[in-house]
Assembly symmetry: C2
Homo-oligomer: 187 residues x 2
Amino acid sequence: MDRRQRKTREAIFDAFSKLLIHNSYSQITVQEIIDEANVGRTTFYAHFPTKDDLLREMCAELFEHVFSHKPEAEPTHDFSMAADDPKALVTHILYHLKEHGRTLIILLTCESGELFQRYFHQYFHELVTLHIFSGNTRKNTIVPDDFLIDHISGSFVNLVRWWLKNHMKQPPEEIAEYFWAVIQPVV
Amino acid sequence: MDRRQRKTREAIFDAFSKLLIHNSYSQITVQEIIDEANVGRTTFYAHFPTKDDLLREMCAELFEHVFSHKPEAEPTHDFSMAADDPKALVTHILYHLKEHGRTLIILLTCESGELFQRYFHQYFHELVTLHIFSGNTRKNTIVPDDFLIDHISGSFVNLVRWWLKNHMKQPPEEIAEYFWAVIQPVV
DNA sequence: TTCATAACAGAACATATTGTTCACTAATCA
DNA sequence: TGATTAGTGAACAATATGTTCTGTTATGAA
């Protein structure tokens, strides 16, 4: 991608983030984003057909990072064994989420939360299916599998929102414990 | 309230519901609502300052009904003992929700879901605090109380959304069972 | 039934936002 | 260096918003 394109894209993302702190999504106009980002009107529309696309792409980029569990070097924490241990995997993700704290608050708190949440849920859903749910001997025979997965994903999104509401005071390890405490008994 | 006012209010609510089936909240314009409801522009603004207020009031009215657990005569089901039994209470609410199925789908599925969900969560939160959580000897000592309540409320909202996704095939009693199966082990 | 009151209709209005087009300039990287 | 690609800024039609006006109609109390 052209350096100019990256620069513009970054500028628009930043401007949008900044505006989301004080105004709600629907109230923010394309004009404001343009002004804040210092880009031409034409340029904005060349990058994003609509404001919704902008939000969508911003969410996608964020989650792409947060849910990436590549065997990369982790500077702040060691998760070499994360792949096997579901609990460690959750902690790992929570660490990544904490890195994006400010942006997360904006996206989950603001009016745009719904779209964001849908993404969140979707990404985590995949993870649950792969790493937490599978390989388990099912204890719970009352509820259908797909509901259970849905419940677990939803609970995680909820947990993160609760964490944010508490200004992310607790360390990721503790949050992971909470999650495990309400999920482990039902899987 | 004046009969004319009630009529106008109803017309606007109905028109809004109808439009929400096919278009997403943000795409619907005041003009469209006015046209669909057959009311004057002035009239609309006399009732609702903004489109958001309209949605807010619609949600409020719906939940006021769904979460009303007055000792009223229930035609479809008997819940005279609902006040004591949390599970019966949940079933009771699920019955009310099913009555509003179409409107619920619209409100939870569409883009406006976030605001709606917030209401939903809030109403149920109160109920959890009063009827499900209280009076229980706490088994779970790991997680904080306020997180647990949050988790339960969030799980209920999630459950209803899952139910809707499945076109409310299952009877309320079965859904209540599911809820109990994932909640009872953690309280 | 009468009548003052309050609600509604509809048109006209200024204002603001959207998304597009066009001619022009500047940066990129091969 | 030079062809290509990205960005600028102004102007635009189209549409939405919210307000103000004047006139009409329904309501419910006397």
